[in-house]
């Protein structure tokens, strides 16, 4: 799964329009980021990288970038680069 796909799945988890999450948002600014979304994210991380994350780890995150790092989503790519690559994909 690419980082772009991962972000799209996060859009789905939060019930947002595809392409809403860019990768650099603060979690408390995300619509629908609640305990249900957190649980769903844990499942997403598990399926992406086989990483078993705990609720405690996720609760300690404050940004989407933190989540991506925990889920081991292409951490070499900065959120800005991810956003740019999504823009170019949509052209």
């Amino acid at each position: 799964m690419t980082s772009a796909d991962f972000l799209l799945q996060m859009d789905e988890i939060l019930g947002l329009r595809a392409g809403t999450i860019q990768g650099f948002e603060k979690l408390d600014e995300l619509e629908n980021w609640d305990s249900l979304a957190l649980i769903s994210f844990i499942a997403l991380a598990q399926s992406h990288s086989g990483v078993s994350t705990s609720p405690q780890q996720i609760v300690s995150c404050s940004t989407v970038a933190d989540l991506l790092r925990i889920a081991r989503v292409d951490v070499a790519t900065s959120p800005t680069q991810v956003a740019k690559s999504r823009q170019s994909e949509s052209v």
Partner: protein, 605 residues
């Protein structure tokens, strides 16, 4: 349609997929037509947000659209005992009480004497009964209550189970008390989380991370299992459980091909691993039949060969266990249609089990209403798959259920009997039918409620009522209530018809009139009308009105009121027809072939 339930929600459920795709799944399922609406209150002893989210998905997968009330955190007792006005105004149809072992108010102390342990049990039961009693008396809702799961930690080790002050022993005792309460109260159902937690394993059932961070008493995977179980109970309450299991034969009920291998070479019996697996599957199917599931065969075989298989000495199933038997070389969808017609049930009441993926695919493709579980070809998993799909879930077992298969078999004998008569009237007369028709009595309320919620075809309004509502109606003098039992020389058909009329001045308005398809074309509806008119005459009621609300399944009664001599009223709307009938002193009973008696079953003995 059965086969359009999204794959993640079907057995084996894909928990991770469900969690990731829940929004999409919910949107997809909410688009289904003819969703049954229900109002459900979730009263939690812990965090319930995930429970509500999963319950919504699995209810939608069953064709039921919930509107929820959710209590505050651990407010299950307060909301009820303090009569939270928001809950009270919500008027739920169903209340789900989501408590777990964490909500036990006090465990006995180590080495507590028996009398002290008894006192703990009594106090705990009093606390819960104060909730249940108020929910029933003030809201009249159906209650679904978790029993208790077990804690993962055992400070006393094995003594937790054997000593009366041990927590496991204590929780099992409370579960027994809960079960007693369920037995004595028809509006109260147990959600068996003791079993679910055992099935999943306690390590998977409870996750400390979710407890400490969110006070979720169950892990996400356990919440999915719980929601699936509660949805199965609700599905049963709303009459959506399946009725008939249709089975292939070769390599489904026995190993080998009867036509080629012959009886003596079939793999069936405990002297071979595969043979034993087939015997065990047959035994499971036989247990389904014993509790009222109708069995049928649909096999590509010569009929005589197919029947011979059941004479195998190790066959747990016998030919007479099956109410319909189609063994020929016709396409299986055609045979399934014939089975449905012969048994007078909808295709959506049928589950079809076949080891052949090709046959399963053809049936799924041509008959999307038939449930076709993906059983694979390994017989050792057939029963597990059937069990886990919860097709035949029942929330109450009544004596009529146990005799259902026998009825369908006797119906087959009756059909053979019919062909020997010149006229249909002669045939009806030969049945020597007797009917017991009277006002609702407590002993029949469970069966009456079952019929109200399961009958789709001969049902003028398709209105559904909970057991509490039926109980209230039966005690209300503003209603005329009639049940009808019918027996004939082939046996007892059981309680087969229900009528509820609401009295308004000198008119009775028929709110519910339904009849089991077991007794279609027997003129039982005439006997019920005779009884209704008789009751009206006693009460000085001069007019009967009835409404026909067309549905997808009740076109069979489109002409019901006209055939009884009712007149159509003006101003009928597009979605319903209003009919009326004048009760005259000169009314002459219409039923010709049914004798009324105080006890139909005794009359036939």
């Amino acid at each position: 349609m059965q086969n359009t339930v999204p794959q993640p929600l079907r057995f084996p459920v894909a928990v991770a997929d469900i969690l990731r795709q829940r929004q999409t799944l919910k949107s997809e399922l909410a688009k289904q037509a003819n969703l049954v609406q229900t109002r459900m209150a979730i009263l939690g002893g812990s965090t319930t947000a995930e429970v509500k989210s999963m319950l919504e998905l699995f209810l939608l997968a069953q064709g039921i659209q919930p509107t929820f009330y959710e209590s505050g955190y651990n407010r299950y007792w307060d909301d009820v005992v303090c009569e939270n006005p928001v809950l009270w105004n919500f008027r739920p149809d169903i209340v789900f009480v989501h408590t777990t072992w964490h909500n036990v108010s006090q465990f006995p102390e180590p080495l507590a004497p028996a009398v002290e342990v008894d006192g703990c049990v009594r106090r705990e039961m009093t606390r819960f009964e104060s909730v249940w009693g108020r929910l029933h008396s003030k809201l009249g809702a159906l209650i679904i209550q978790n029993n208790f799961d077990l804690p993962r930690l055992r400070p006393l080790g094995n003594l937790e189970a054997s000593e009366s002050f041990g927590r496991i022993n204590y929780l099992l005792r409370l579960n027994a008390e809960f079960a007693n309460y369920a037995r004595d109260h028809s509006h109260f159902l147990i959600n068996d989380i003791l079993y679910l937690s055992a099935q999943l394993g306690l390590a998977a059932w409870f996750d400390p991370g979710y407890w400490y961070n969110f006070h979720m008493a169950l892990s996400p995977g356990a919440t999915v299992a719980l929601a699936r179980n509660v949805a199965a109970i609700v599905k049963s309450v709303y009459g959506k459980s399946k009725k008939c299991l249709v089975l292939d034969l070769d390599n489904t009920l026995w190993g080998g091909t009867i036509g080629d291998d012959g009886l003596q070479n079939l793999l069936l019996g405990r002297d071979h691993p595969l043979g034993e697996a087939f015997v065990n599957f047959q035994q499971y199917v036989r247990e389904l039949r014993r509790r009222g599931v109708i069995l049928a065969v649909c096999s590509k075989n010569d009929a005589e060969n197919a029947k011979e298989g059941f004479s195998h000495p190790d066959s747990a199933l016998k030919l007479e266990d099956f109410s319909a038997f189609k063994a020929n070389w016709d396409p299986k969808p055609d045979n399934l249609r014939r089975i449905a017609e012969e048994l007078n049930i909808g295709l959506d009441s049928i589950v079809f089990v076949d080891d052949s993926p090709a046959e399963r695919a053809i049936v799924r493709d041509e008959l999307p209403d038939v449930a076709v579980p993906e059983v694979g070809s390994d017989v050792s998993s057939f029963a597990d798959i059937l069990e886990n799909e919860r097709y035949f879930e029942t929330h109450k077992l009544v004596p009529d259920d146990l005799s259902r298969s026998a009825y369908y078999s006797s119906k087959a004998r009756g059909s053979a009997h019919e062909t020997s008569f010149g006229s249909y009237g002669d045939f009806l007369a030969s049945l020597q039918m007797v009917a017991e028709i009277g006002a609702f009595t407590p002993v029949y309320l469970e069966r009456i409620t079952q019929l109200i919620n399961k009958t789709n075809q001969f049902n003028l309004t398709t209105r559904r009522y909970t057991s509490s509502e039926v109980e209230a109606i039966s005690g209300d003098s503003a209603f005329i209530t009639l049940y009808g039992r019918l027996a004939d020389k082939f046996g007892d058909n059981g309680l087969v018809s229900v009528l509820i009329g609401r009295i308004s001045n000198d008119t009775v308005e028929i709110d519910i009139w339904l009849m089991s398809c077991r007794v279609l074309k027997r003129e039982m509806e005439l006997a019920m009308l005779d009884a209704l008119v008789e009751e009206c005459q006693v009460r000085g009621i001069r007019k009967i009105t009835g409404v026909y609300i067309p549905s997808k399944k009740n076109s069979v009664v489109a002409g019901h009121y006209a055939s009884l001599g009712f007149n159509r009223a003006d101003g009928t709307s597009a979605n319903s027809e209003l009919w009326h009938y004048t009760v005259l002193p000169s009314y002459s009973p219409k039923s010709r072939y049914i004798r009324r008696t105080a006890d139909a079953f005794v009359a036939l003995s």
